[in-house]
C-alpha cells in the first residue's frame, strides 16, 4: 500500500510538473535555434533565393544553373571532384577507423596519448599556414621527402604537381590535415564502449580483428556515418586543398579544379552571386541526397 502510493504520487507529481513535456526541450534549444536562424537558415535561404533570381532580383528560373553548366570549367570540375571523392572517402574512413582501433588497443596510455597528439598536429596547420609547407614538401630539390619523390621519378616541383597527380596530392593534403581530428573523435567514441563487452569478447576467444569487426565498428556506427556524411560533403565541396596548391604553385596546379572553386570564381571574380549560388545549391543537393541515404540506412536520427 504505502509502496504503491508514493510511486503514484511521484508519477502524478512528475506529470503535474511537466504538463508540456516538450517545454524543457524547447528551453534547451532556444538559444541554438536563434543562432541557427540568424547564421544558418537566413543565409542559406538567401543563397537559395540568389540561385533562382538574377542580378536585378527578378525570378530567372533555372538560367543560373544552365549558365553554370555551360561554363567550360564545369564538366572537368565534376570529373575532378568525383575522382577526388573516391580517393578521399576511402582513405578517410578506412584509415581513420583503422588507426583509431589500433591506438585504442595500445597498451601504454602514454604512447597512445602521444601518438594521438602527434597525429593531430597537422590539423592545426589549416589553410594559409600550410601553403609554404607543401611548397617545400612537394619540391624534390628541397623536400625532406625528396628521396621518395626522386624514387618515383620526379625531379622538379613542376613534375610533382602534374595534372594527373592532383587527386592523390589533394587526398594526401586533406588527409594529413583532417585525419587527426577524426581519429580523436573515433577514439573517444571507442572509449564509450563498455569495457565489459570487449572483455567478454576476448574471453570468448575473439581476436583483435574479430572484436573490431563484430563489436566495435557496429557500435561506432553513428560516428562513422557522421564522419562519412561530412567527408562526402567536404569532398564534393573541395576547396581548401586546390586553393592551397594553387597559391603555392602560383597558379600552375589547382586553379579552377573543383566546383566550389568555380562557385567562388563566379561570386568574387565575376561578381555573379547568382550563378555562384546555383552551383552552391547543386553541391548542397548532392550532399543532402548522400546524407539522406546514409541516415536512412543507419537510423541516424533515432534517439536510442
Amino acid at each position: 500500500m504505502s509502496a504503491a502510493t508514493p510511486g503514484r504520487a511521484r508519477a502524478a507529481r512528475s506529470t503535474r510538473r511537466a504538463p508540456w513535456p516538450g517545454r524543457a526541450g524547447h528551453g534547451f534549444v532556444a538559444a541554438y535555434v536563434l543562432l541557427l536562424i540568424a547564421f544558418g537558415v537566413v543565409p542559406t535561404v538567401y543563397a537559395i533565393y540568389f540561385a533562382f533570381t538574377n542580378a536585378d532580383g527578378h525570378i530567372s528560373g533555372l538560367s543560373n544553373f544552365s549558365n553554370a553548366a555551360n561554363d567550360f570549367r564545369f564538366l572537368p570540375a565534376i570529373g575532378h571532384v568525383a575522382l577526388y571523392l573516391l580517393f578521399w572517402l576511402a582513405a578517410l574512413v578506412i584509415f581513420v577507423v583503422g588507426l583509431a582501433l589500433l591506438l585504442h588497443r595500445l597498451a601504454g596510455q602514454g604512447v597512445s596519448r602521444a601518438l594521438r597528439f602527434l597525429y593531430y598536429i597537422p590539423g592545426a596547420l589549416a589553410g594559409a599556414a600550410s601553403v609554404m609547407v607543401w611548397l617545400f614538401l612537394l619540391d624534390p630539390s628541397v623536400s625532406p621527402a625528396s628521396f621518395l619523390l626522386r624514387a618515383l621519378g620526379y625531379d622538379t616541383f613542376g613534375q610533382v604537381i602534374a595534372p594527373g597527380h592532383l587527386p592523390v596530392l589533394f587526398t594526401l593534403i586533406a588527409f594529413w590535415t583532417g585525419a587527426g581530428g577524426w581519429i580523436v573523435v573515433m577514439y573517444g567514441a571507442l572509449n564509450n564502449i563498455p569495457h565489459d563487452i570487449i572483455e567478454a569478447a576476448r574471453i570468448d576467444g575473439a581476436g583483435a580483428w574479430q572484436s573490431a569487426r563484430r563489436i566495435q565498428i557496429p557500435l561506432l556506427r553513428k560516428w562513422i556515418v557522421y564522419m562519412a556524411i561530412l567527408a562526402f560533403a567536404g569532398g564534393t565541396q573541395l576547396f581548401v586543398e586546390p586553393q592551397l596548391l594553387s597559391q603555392a604553385s602560383v597558379g600552375v596546379a589547382g586553379r579552377d579544379y573543383s566546383l566550389n572553386q568555380l562557385s567562388y570564381d563566379f561570386a568574387f571574380q565575376n561578381n555573379d552571386v547568382n550563378t555562384a549560388a546555383a552551383i552552391s545549391v547543386e553541391l548542397l543537393l548532392i550532399g543532402l541526397i548522400a546524407a539522406a541515404l546514409f541516415v536512412a540506412r543507419s537510423g541516424f536520427f533515432d534517439a536510442d
Partner: protein, 316 residues
C-alpha cells in the same frame, strides 16, 4: 598482443561471461607471445607521415632563407638565425603578430563560451528529450552544415550590416558561436553513451528536466564538452575567410589572416615587395606561433577524454 592475454586472465575470474575457453585455446593464446609487428609498423609509418612536415617546419624556423634552400631539409639551422627570425617577425608592423594572436584568442574564447552554453544543451535535448520539431531541427542543422559557404558571405555581410555590427568583433564572434558540428557531436554522444534508464530514474525521483540535465547528464558529458570545446576553438582559430571579408581593419585580424598578410610579403610570392620582405623562415616561425595555442588547448582537453566514463553508472 601479450597485454590482451594478461588482461583477459586478470578479468577471467569476475567476468560474467559464459563458458571459459577450451584449454587448448588458452594454451594456444599463451603460446602466441610474439607480438604482431604490423600494428606497430602501421602506426610508425603514419607517425612519419604526419610528423615529418611539422619537423621540417620546426627546423625551418631556425634557418636562414639560404639554408632553407641549400641546406639539408632536416638539419638544424642555428640559434642565431632563430633569434634573427624572431626579431624580424616581431618587428613586422610593430608587433603585429602579437596583436593578431591576441585577437584570435579573444574571438576564439568568447565564441567558445557561447558555443558550449548553446550547443551542449541543444545536443542533449535533441538526443534525450522529445519535443515538437526535434526532427526538423536535426534536419535543418544538417542542411545548414552541408551548405557550401561561397554564397553565404553576401547574406551574412548584409545581415551583420543590418544590425550595425560591421567592424565590431561581435561580427565575427556571433557567427563563430553558431557551431552545428558541435551540436551534432553532442547529439551523437548523448544518444549513444547515455542510457535513458539513468535519466528516467532521475525523473522518477522528481527531478525537473533541467535538474536531470544539470545533475546527471552534464557531469557525464565531460568528454563531449572537451571535444566540442576543442573543435570549436580550433575552427574559430583557423577560420580565414569570414574575418578576411568582415573585418575592415588590419589591427583586428586574427592570426590566420595575419599569416596570409605575411605570406603576401614573401618575395617568392610577391616579387616587388622590396625592403619589407618577409623571409620564409620568418613565416615558418610565425606559423609555429600560430599553431602553438591550438596544440596547447589540445593537450589540455585530451585529459578529459578518459576511458570508462560510464563504468558503474548502470547495473546491467
Amino acid at each position: 598482443m601479450p597485454t590482451d592475454t594478461h588482461t583477459a586472465r586478470a578479468h577471467a575470474a569476475p567476468s560474467p561471461a559464459g563458458t571459459p575457453p577450451p584449454a587448448g585455446e588458452r594454451t594456444r593464446r599463451r603460446g602466441r607471445v610474439p607480438r604482431n609487428p604490423l600494428p606497430a609498423l602501421v602506426l610508425a609509418l603514419f607517425l612519419v607521415f604526419f610528423v615529418l612536415p611539422v619537423a621540417w617546419l620546426l627546423l625551418a624556423a631556425t634557418k636562414t632563407d639560404d639554408q632553407l634552400v641549400h641546406g639539408n631539409p632536416l638539419s638544424f639551422g642555428s640559434w642565431h638565425a632563430l633569434h634573427a627570425n624572431w626579431t624580424a617577425l616581431t618587428g613586422y608592423q610593430d608587433d603585429a603578430i602579437f596583436l593578431w594572436l591576441r585577437n584570435s584568442a579573444v574571438y576564439a574564447f568568447l565564441a567558445l563560451i557561447i558555443t558550449l552554453a548553446v550547443a551542449i544543451p541543444a545536443g542533449y535535448a535533441m538526443a534525450m528529450t522529445q519535443f515538437r520539431g526535434r526532427r526538423t531541427l536535426l534536419i535543418a542543422t544538417l542542411v545548414v552544415m552541408l551548405m557550401p559557404n561561397a554564397t553565404l558571405v553576401v547574406p551574412l555581410f548584409l545581415e551583420i550590416n543590418a544590425v550595425h555590427l560591421i567592424g565590431s568583433m561581435w561580427s565575427i564572434i556571433l557567427p563563430y558561436a553558431f557551431y552545428p558540428f558541435g551540436v551534432y557531436l553532442t547529439y551523437i554522444y548523448f544518444s549513444t553513451a547515455l542510457p535513458n534508464d539513468l535519466l528516467d530514474a532521475a525523473r522518477l525521483d522528481g527531478c525537473s528536466e533541467f535538474g536531470v540535465f544539470r545533475r546527471i547528464a552534464l557531469p557525464l558529458a565531460t568528454p563531449v564538452i572537451a571535444l566540442v570545446g576543442f573543435f570549436s576553438f580550433v575552427a574559430n582559430w583557423t577560420n580565414y575567410f569570414l574575418p578576411y571579408v568582415l573585418l575592415p581593419d588590419s589591427s583586428q585580424f586574427p592570426i590566420q589572416v595575419g599569416l596570409g598578410t605575411l605570406l603576401d610579403d614573401v618575395p617568392q610570392f610577391n616579387p616587388t615587395v622590396g625592403s619589407l620582405a618577409v623571409q620564409r623562415p620568418e613565416l615558418a616561425l610565425a606559423t609555429l606561433l600560430a599553431i602553438t595555442p591550438v596544440l596547447i588547448v589540445f593537450l589540455f582537453s585530451q585529459r578529459f577524454l578518459v576511458a570508462g566514463m560510464l563504468a558503474g553508472a548502470t547495473k546491467d
